[in-house]
């Protein structure tokens, strides 16, 4: 007697696709709607888990587009501390779909949040990327100049990308009661001052997340019709929930479920939008929990490697191709340093 399951591939069966495989061989990417070629410009954004994706792509023969790169004077550590190269532009963590949508509208001059700068004295903070650089911006003018250039870098990224990878991170957010601006962190946590008259908690529903993602993709395609989108959901649990009377574990399960369903709704609704199951790879439990660190929250390197391996295998047209050589290091500073040493030594000899 035949039945529909008889013709299904191995990936449809838990025993064949999960239970009997070594954990590292589990690969849930099945028939993505499009592939990424080495020429395709890839841009990433999203929650903290997404920070792993961009730099990894750079080492895997993907054309990872960075429109706000570090200056060669900065060391690798300094560039990282100032969030250069972590994402395609210095937008910091974008946790919610609404924040992403507003980022687009802010960059294109269609949304001007009332609360758009925190601080004073010697430190100014961008409410929408409060941890973008250690110590904040050291003058108001620097802040404004940097933000204008940042917005230009955002526009370049959105207009030049071929593939946008967005990791949905949270449903919980703090928003302005005045104009609905979504803050990535609650005011008062890393700048600003929490004021219940101006700030309120909001837990985005599945409908809101899906609508915001659809609106964002529509906006993106209005400036870049060829844009394809890959959605992922961060496997990293909430660090804290603001929901009253709710355990953080329960709040996490709810948020991730909402994001996962919203991502599915969007991929089912729009063409050229794929879902990449980073969330499932990390949280699938087939690995006996080894992909989380001792804090049961941070994803350890083998987990990230597994995710990226599946990404490359599933989405790249050239899986396994060697990465291009890194760009040559700037020789400006070493040359100047050597010359200055000689210069100063010569001057020092002349004591007369």
């Amino acid at each position: 007697m035949s039945n529909p399951y008889q013709t299904l591939p191995d990936t449809a069966f838990w025993r064949r696709a999960v239970a009997t495989l070594p954990p590292e061989a589990v690969d849930p990417v099945v028939a993505p709607p499009f592939l990424i070629s080495p020429a395709d410009a890839v841009v990433t954004a999203g929650s903290c888990f997404a920070q792993h994706i961009g730099p990894t792509l750079q080492g895997l023969n993907f054309n990872y587009l960075i429109t706000e790169p570090a200056h060669p004077l900065a060391t690798q550590e300094q560039a990282r501390a100032f969030n250069y190269g972590v994402f395609s532009a210095r937008w910091g963590n974008v946790y919610t779909a609404r924040q992403l949508l507003q980022l687009f509208h802010r960059a294109y001059g269609n949304f001007y949040p009332v609360e758009d700068m925190w601080g004073g004295e010697n430190c100014w903070i961008d409410p929408f990327r409060p941890q973008i650089q250690p110590g904040g911006f050291l003058s108001q003018r620097e802040y404004k100049l940097d933000r204008a250039r940042h917005f230009a870098a955002i526009r370049r990224a959105f207009e030049a990308l071929d593939v946008f990878v967005f990791t949905l991170g949270l449903t919980e957010a703090w928003v302005s009661r005045v104009d609905g601006a979504v803050f990535p962190l609650c005011p008062g946590v890393a700048g600003g001052e929490f004021n219940p008259a101006r700030h309120e908690f909001h837990n985005f529903t599945v409908g809101e997340v899906a609508e915001d993602m659809v609106a964002f993709i529509g906006a993106l395609r209005s400036v870049n019709p060829r844009a394809r989108v890959i959605l992922t959901v961060s496997p990293v649990p909430l660090v804290a929930t603001a929901r009253e009377g709710t355990h953080v574990l329960v709040a996490t399960a709810y948020s991730k479920a909402v994001l996962r369903v919203a991502a599915e709704m969007v991929t089912q609704t729009l063409p050229g939008v794929a879902y990449f199951p980073a969330y499932e790879i990390i949280t699938g439990r087939y690995d006996a929990g080894t992909y989380f660190a001792a804090d049961r929250r941070s994803v350890v390197a083998p987990g990230v490697s597994h995710v990226m391996r599946c990404f490359v295998t599933g989405f790249s047209t050239q899986a396994g191709a060697p990465a291009p050589p890194p760009p040559p290091a700037s020789d400006y500073e070493p040359q100047m340093e050597a010359a200055m040493q000689v210069h100063c030594d010569e001057i020092a000899l002349d004591q007369g």
Binding site: V342, I347, D350
Partner: protein
Amino acid sequence: MAPLKILVLGHSHITALAKAFHRGEPGVSMDFVLLNNPEYQPPLSDEGLHPAILEKIHAARAGLHVSLLGGNDHSIIGMLNHPRRFDFVLPEAPDLPVDETAEILPAGLLLAHLAQRVAPHLAVLALYRAAVPGRLVHVESPPPIPSEAHIRAHPGVFREMIEERGVSPALLRYKLWRLHSELYARECARIGVEFLPAPEAMRDEQGMMRPEAWNPDPTHGNALYGRHVIGSLLAA
């Protein structure tokens, strides 16, 4: 009364003071420990200051200790045009012009970068502080020479690099010098060292070095500049 004994420890900016002293500086006795000399290399190791430096410090029995440690790291990153031209907003004077056709870098990033560069000098300064009781003064490095013509006329080892890259705008060099000085001033405050600013009389209306103080090279002060520094030290 015995003349005040001053020990000056540092790098090439010492030269301006040494020249001034050797041309006659009444009322003071000065000794110079020039760390560029091979006998003091490396100035710093896991054991602390080089023994030869410590010996000089203790043998001097100075009434006043002076540091001119480092002082050209801002020039390393900013004296010549960078292939990716940059500028920044100086936090202490945010209204100064900024070249918006260049990359605008966060001042904090440049501070972090300069801090990494000057860290070895500041480490020596801290050990100098620990090695001597009483007054220890760090002299701010000289302000930049604003004249590109002067730098091109006295390029020294930079001749080819200047031809290739060009001298960076004086204002950028000034701003980098201010960041550099801020790092030294902060550390001095932290470790109990007096920070002596560059002599006002040797600075022009923009805060850069006056022509009469220019040594015939791109970055140093001359004997007149040194004389004013010594005057400031004695007046302080």
